[in-house]
Amino acid sequence: MNPQRIAVKLYLEEPAALDPEELVPVFHRFIREDLVTGVPIDVARYGHVSDGPGIMIIGSLKDHALDLGGGRAGLSTTLKRGADGTVASRVHELVQDVARLSVDLQADPDLGSRARVGTGEILITILDRYEAPNDDATLLKIDPAIREVITALSEAGGAGAVTVERVGESRDPFAVRVLVDQPRPLIQWAEGVEAASV
């Protein structure tokens, strides 16, 4: 299995506190200040679409978003092209990306600490129905990579007990939800994520 397109999402703790449109000027500034990876190109606004991709930084290699998919607002980073390394290292890189994005937004003065991000739940999606249909066989194949990332993160960040479950229907892209028993505060968790090696 060699999926190219993988997304990692963390959820906002208080989604109602943040109007997605508030992210538009912030994301434009992030592009200007080179704060995100993946050859960022522009900001796309889909806040008017319920259950949609929200406000996005569209990139050549990666997208970053305040993602409204699944009816739950969160921050996501999607790897689209140029993947190298193992599946585990790709997932780990994306977790690092979304952790940095979360820390930056949580600390952003224009958002007044309203973009609070939880670390107790991570959604990992593989956007490749050929390589990774949403079934148990894919889960079996992908599980070792997920465990490798989780182990690395646990050692570095002390995340506590972890459960991994496949979510969605067979027609949806393959996705797993990683639930953490004792989630750490974002900053502390992000430091651990940054330090972990896969």
């Binding site: 522009d42 889909y46 490749d128």
Partner: protein, 752 residues
């Protein structure tokens, strides 16, 4: 891996002609990456497959402070002039007459999720667009579409674009007859038709079932057909009034009547004749004058009619002209009742409001058409899947897209309306805004379009929000108005036919650029877009909501009993209308009102530096160039087959490459040469080899001989050595065809 994987998995599901088209395109991609196809030729090749460039694909973006260079991984490799390879682009999917099935919706949702930005965008011409797709993913996306009967072929470029039709066709209360089977037949007939490959610009066709409603907006199309029924000897006789030469853009033209009462069996040939006249006489060099409206205006409609009649007389007969009249389309199957609560239940005010705005009673008793409004034409992947499920439950395969960027369900049982309303509400798609002033239409504008000047989607979203908030307070006469927004003068938002229209432009003030919209009032939506609005002045973008308020307030205050907005604007006149908004034109200093110097939904200080080279029409590349390019692709496949040790395939591909190249040469003199190898080789031999015109100065007839000999013998290469020889000769033959074309062009120009 997924690329070849999908091809193998879907091979049996794809129509062979589409599958081959996509294979050729994929080979062209490889050749372009190797620098073996010129970027201009490749650009037209991809445009003719619906693969468009997007904003910033020249690698430049103004970040609000300064111009920045985007550093894409593939460096300087291009997919067209000033269009970088790695810059994501748009794919336009044709949806002929707007017809969709749930499975098609499912597949497009998957593609949006895996290759795009999770959004399907419905256009003002009933297409679906995916944005931010990488060029190398396009063949796979096309294959997955082809497997469910969809194509992107000729969705862009200088060809016949998507064919649109009224979404009520077949169920409308005022139509003459159902135009759907005729639209489908014409769409299939013209797709890839040789007579439509040498246009100087794009060509748009629309069908209407009646003359008085907006219906298919025939009057703003290059060619349109309006259904009519006459009683002849007491019997109803169906026919079409065919119009030609309409168009919007900077110089909008109303279409003119080409021929009335065109018998159903004559529709395809008369369209073919128009295409041939346009290809032959239409402007090729100046793309600003290359639409058919300029040709018709130049010749006059009477002369154009004569040219078409003359062309029609010499058309070789084609059995497809009338085949659909016998076969037809399978009629839509009315949905069965789900034993719903019943639409007569009027206790739920929200439901009643929704029913009054979003449901249309069909001609057939007991059924309705329901509009599912899509804000700015957008629907997410997840919503699309859920909507497809709802369609399966209530109406089956009878979904259509609309030019107002919505989706309609047809054949909804009246007793199921309430359940459908509830189901749509659960996925956030039951806004009671259909055909109201709130349901603003917009082209992509500066969000993604290379030509966009102002943020049409930003403005449309703002107006939608502001008007939606006060929808119930609006005067009845205002609620039914239409607002349409274009990001520039090219009019993709169709602002000319709106009651209140806007198109983007800009003005300079004290060294800074201010985004503006030109205000266009009093366009006619009815009568197939029967007249265009009056431009009354350019206003800073941020003040446009104030423009809408002032105009609608004045209309309500001044309208006479029964007076329409169109009549009121006509009575008030351009001068009177301009006076209402005149004071809004003044531009204060940046220090006084900095917000005026950025656009809706985009906080960057406004700049026109991001405007790129439009690909709306593409470069004018001759069909000979394109066909020779395809021949090269096939020759390349032959080389690959040889490397794989597949001698039989290498031989077949090499031979096919030569046939394709020979056909390209023959078609320069015999446009109607059939897809028959004997005829192609015979004509090539007679016209070009025997006359020594294909003769090379040094190699003489050497390059033509392998084709003639391989064709005459009919024998495939017996071994790898023979196949290798043929593969090499095929490439030399194509090179010789290019050289021949250059010689002929030189000879032609020398005699002019």
């Amino acid at each position: 891996m997924s690329t070849t994987g999908w091809r193998d998995r879907l091979e049996a599901q794809m129509p062979p002609d589409l599958a081959e088209e996509i294979d050729i395109f994929e080979t062209q991609l490889e050749l372009r990456q190797d620098g073996r196809v010129d970027e201009r030729v490749f650009a037209e090749t991809r445009l003719r497959r619906g693969v468009y460039g997007q904003r910033y694909d020249n690698g430049q973006r103004h970040d609000g402070i300064e111009q920045r260079t985007l550093t894409f991984p593939a460096g300087d490799l291009t997919k067209g002039p000033e269009t970088l390879w790695d810059a994501p682009g748009m794919l336009r999917i044709k949806v002929p007459w707007g017809g969709l099935t749930p499975i098609q919706l499912d597949v497009m949702a998957e593609l949006a999720e895996e290759y795009s930005d999770h959004i399907l965008h419905i256009t003002t011409r009933q297409d679906v667009q995916l944005h931010y797709v990488h060029i190398e993913d396009m063949p796979t996306v096309m294959r997955r579409l082809a497997a469910v009967g969809m194509t992107t072929r000729e969705a862009c470029g200088n060809g016949v674009r998507n064919l649109t039709a009224c979404p009520l066709s077949g169920v409308c209360r005022t139509e003459a007859f159902d135009v759907t089977p005729h639209s489908e037949a014409l769409f299939r007939f013209l797709l890839g038709h040789p007579d439509c490959q040498d246009f100087g610009r794009k060509f748009k066709i629309a069908f209407s079932g009646c003359a008085d409603e907006a219906c298919g907006l025939v009057m703003m199309h290059d060619l349109g057909a309006i259904a009519r029924t006459d009683m002849v000897d007491g019997e109803p006789v169906h026919s079409f009034d065919v119009y030609v030469g309409g168009g919007l853009g900077t110089t909008p033209h109303q279409a003119k009547l080409l021929a009335d009462r065109v018998p159903l069996g004559e529709l395809l040939p008369i369209t073919q004749a128009v295409a041939r006249v346009f290809a032959r006489l239409g402007e090729k060099l100046n793309r600003n004058r290359a639409r058919i409206k300029f040709l018709v205006a130049g010749t006059g409609i009477e002369e154009f009619q004569r040219l078409v009649r003359e062309e029609r007389e010499i058309l070789p007969y084609d059995e497809r002209w009338t085949a659909h009249l016998e076969d037809g389309l399978a009629p839509e199957v009315p949905s069965r009742s789900l034993d719903g609560v019943g639409e007569e239940d009027g206790t739920d005010a929200a439901f009643v409001t929704w029913r009054d705005t979003n449901a249309y009673l069909q001609r057939q008793d007991g059924y309705a058409v329901v509009t599912v409004p899509l804000p700015l034409g957008d629907i997410s992947s997840h919503q699309s899947r859920l909507l497809a499920d709802i369609a399966r439950r209530f109406v089956g395969d009878t979904i259509r897209t609309t030019v107002e960027q919505n989706i309609v369900f047809r054949w909804v049982r009246l007793e199921d309306l309430r359940d459908l309303y509830a189901a749509l509400g659960e996925i956030g798609m039951a806004d009671a805004v259909a055909e109201t002033i709130v349901d603003v239409t917009s082209c992509p504008g500066t969000d993604t379009c290379k030509l966009g000047i102002s943020a049409s989607r930003g403005l449309a979203g703002e107006l939608r929000e502001q008007l939606g908030a006060k929808q119930t307070e609006l005067d009845e006469a205002v609620r039914g108005l239409r607002i349409k927004v274009s990001g520039c003068f090219n009019s993709c938002g169709q602002h000319h036919v709106a009651d209140i229209g806007f198109f983007g432009n800009s003005r300079k003030s004290a060294g800074r650029v201010v985004p503006h919209f030109q205000v266009v009032l009093g366009g006619q939506w009815q009568h197939n877009g029967g007249s265009y609005g009056l431009a009354v002045g350019a206003i800073p973008s941020k003040r446009i909501p104030e423009v809408v308020d002032r105009i609608t307030d004045r209309f309500v205050a001044e309208r006479e009993p029964g007076e329409t907005f169109l009549d009121w604007t006509g009575r008030t006149g351009r001068k009177g209308l301009a006076a209402i908004i005149a004071d809004l034109k003044a531009i204060p200093s940046y220090e006084e009102e900095p917000g005026l110097f950025s656009d809706w939904g985009n906080p960057r200080e406004f700049s026109i530096g991001d405007i790129g080279i439009g690909e709306c029409a593409g470069e004018v590349i001759s069909s000979t160039d394109l066909e020779l390019s395809f021949a090269e692709s096939i020759a390349f496949e032959a080389q690959v087959a040889l490397e794989d040790g597949d001698v039989a395939k290498a031989d077949e591909r090499a031979y096919r490459a030569m046939i394709t190249a020979a056909r390209a040469i023959v078609r320069t003199e015999l446009p109607d040469v059939p897809e028959d190898d004997d005829v192609i080789v015979g004509e090539f031999d007679t016209r070009f080899v025997e006359t020594n015109r294909f003769r090379d100065r040094f190699a003489h007839s050497k390059f033509a001989r392998p084709l003639l000999e391989r064709h005459a013998s009919g024998e495939a290469a017996a071994n790898e050595e023979a196949a290798r020889s043929l593969v090499e000769e095929a490439q030399l033959f194509i090179d010789a065809a290019h050289a021949f074309q250059i010689r002929e062009a030189g000879a032609t120009s020398a005699t002019q």
